[in-house]
Amino acid sequence: MILTIFKKDLKLFFADRKGVLLTFLMPILLITLFAFAFGGIGGGSSKAEPIKLLVSDLDNSSDSKSVIASLQALRELTLIPKEVIEATNLVHKGKNVGVLILKKGFQDSISAGNNLPMELKYDAAREIEMGMLQSVLMQSLMSTVGQKSIKAKMNTYFDTNFSGMPQEMKEKIFNNMDAIKGGMNTSAENNMGLKMTSIVKESTKIGNLGLIQAVAGTAIMMLLFSIAAIGGGLLDEKESGTLKRLFYSPLKPTDILFGKMGAALVLAILQLVVMFVFSWLVFGLPIFKDFTSLVLMILATAFAVSSFGIFLVAIAKTRQQLQGLSTIVILTMSAIGGSMIPLFVMPAIMQKIAVVSVNYWGIQGFYDIFWRSLPLIEILPKMGILVAIGLVMTLISVLLFKRNVLKLMHN
């Protein structure tokens, strides 16, 4: 008897070809995706994208130009000259990782051996890129202006404390600097006076990037799963016969779809509200800081996600297909969109791919509200994209629903 049931279930499973494909394709795709996200593909031979660094030269001196030229020569960096205000604004919006400002008196400070008037304003949300940038910058600055600055500083020191020291002796010490350079690097860096400023932190006074990532990322991913499950009720109705009975009534097929979508939308809004209220109560997420933007962002995200969930249901013909399909699509979108792994730890190519994901736009929108503290007008484009995703998904769902669900109902 058990063997009969076992054979029957296997037969049923293999009869659903899409279901079978998804069952086996899903783990393969996920393995590939995660390997790619963590840089495991190509054995490390793939070249990293250069970091795009904005630069504002307020000194406009030969030394400042020389520094910019040497930075430009580095393959790790792509320098983009910008005015300070515009550059700061771009970093603030999360468009660029940072701006290096060489302030007035840069050349004079080198000659005088003083701390160099330069500042790196950066987006702390891109921590990993910042770490790489800082390291590249320091090495380059040391090799161009660092030694010159240190020599000037030491010269001043010798003149002050050992007046009358022969120039020959000073030169001997300078020539031996290469031997002791390694040990001086740290102090040299400090002395060079590169001021590091997180733009976001300065303006918002909220420092918990991890919390925002966790709340926004997880909320959207879980929402997708929930909505797919809610939408799956439609397939249950098909199987139980209630969907057919609905079609006997004067309802239009789109009424049924939109009714289901409406329910999914309301539940999505509720789920997001509960998650944000929970984060406020338990973790102190400042949800009232820009309440209007938050409400609009929740509505836009819920619309995009509920439409996406219904889209999945419209594609699937059976519960088994939906289960496989929703798992693979949602996990993929969550992985590339930054729900599972913060975007700033991913390779540049993955960050570019992320824009195809609903999660990306949702998470970035919540970043804009809580982290970047952008005004509503600056967040509206992201909301617009979410609404557009929702509309496109709805349109496709209507077409697919008519084709798949109605057709299958009669088989």
């Binding site: 209630t242 057919k244 009975r245 006997y248 009534s249 004067p250």
Partner: protein
């Protein structure tokens, strides 16, 4: 009331309904009788507008269902083969939901639900969840859900599948009451006893075609199936048989001690027995072979109804 002309519907290479025509009169119970896969449910789906025909025409109260599907949907109620109810809802909540789809005003709907629940004998259980109901009770609620908008026509697609004899009788009573109230009923089944009990006219279907239609008497004539009596005697000789044949003046088929007499059972049986007694023939057993739908179906299609 319903006029179906040259209707055809195929699914890929399968001709589910193949060029059929029939008409249903107002107030009658019309039976669609045939084995599983004959195309009965497809016809119901076509008449209830959720399937589009490949060819042919269906008129309901002179409304073409392709052009006036909304009007037609208001005229008909459909009792699907599946128990299409929400298990987690109570009976009354289910009925409120299904009734509200037809925009029946709340007050009227409430009153109708009460009346219908009383008609089907489940008023006392109205607040119980459907999942707590027996199969037969669910079937009755399944019927009730199709009546809430006061349809003129009720399509019932095998409404007694899987129910016990007691519930089946209750469902028959409900159908008879509804018909007495003036509702035209189209009833599909593969149980000939149900059609024989309920339907005035019948269409016999097989493999997507209507092989015969009419009243049971008309079907009998079309099929050429005759009623007969099979009599088994203790002992009958050749001479006695010839005498019997001459007295009855009807055709007798003999096999050992049995004879089969084709006759009008109701009219001729007493006469046959009387002649047998007068001829001193001792009857061991009598079997009536009625010209029922089973026999008619067998005669028309060469298959048993439940094949």
């Amino acid at each position: 009331m319903i006029q179906v002309s040259n209707l055809s519907k195929s699914f890929d290479t399968i001709h589910a309904v193949n060029n059929i025509s029939f008409s249903i009169r107002k107030g009658e119970v019309f039976g669609l009788l045939g084995p599983n896969g004959a195309g009965k449910s497809t016809i119901i789906n076509l008449m209830s507008t959720i399937l589009k025909s490949d060819e042919g025409e269906i008129l309901i109260n002179e409304n073409d269902i392709k052009q006036n599907s909304t009007i037609c949907k208001q005229l008909i109620g459909v009792v699907p083969q599946e128990i299409s109810l929400y298990d987690e809802f109570s009976a009354v909540d289910n009925l409120i939901f299904w009734g509200s789809l037809y925009k029946v005003p709340a007050k009227i709907l409430k009153q109708r639900i009460k009346n219908i629940l009383k008609l089907i004998g489940l008023y006392d259980r109205k607040d119980d969840l459907i999942k707590t109901y027996s199969g037969g009770m669910k079937r009755r609620i399944n019927i009730a859900a199709a009546l809430l908008h006061n349809p003129e026509i009720l399509f019932m697609d095998e409404p007694t599948v899987g129910v016990d004899p007691q519930s089946r009788n209750k469902i028959f009573e409900i159908i008879e009451t509804l018909n007495q109230q003036g509702i035209t009923i189209v009833y599909t089944t593969h149980y000939m006893e149900e059609v024989e009990r309920l339907c005035k006219r019948i269409a016999i279907m097989d493999a997507g075609k209507i092989v015969a239609q009419g009243t049971q008497t008309e079907l009998q004539k079309q099929s050429n199936v005759k009623e007969a009596v099979q009599i088994t005697f203790q002992l009958i000789s050749e001479v006695q048989l010839e005498q019997l044949q001459s007295q009855l003046q009807i055709k007798i088929n003999q096999s050992e001690q049995k004879i089969i007499i084709e006759c009008d059972v109701n009219k001729d049986l007493s006469n046959i027995i009387s002649i047998c007694n007068k001829s001193n023939l001792r009857i061991k057993d009598i079997k009536l072979k009625k010209a029922n739908l089973e026999a008619i179906f067998l005669s028309l299609t060469g298959k048993q109804l439940r094949d």
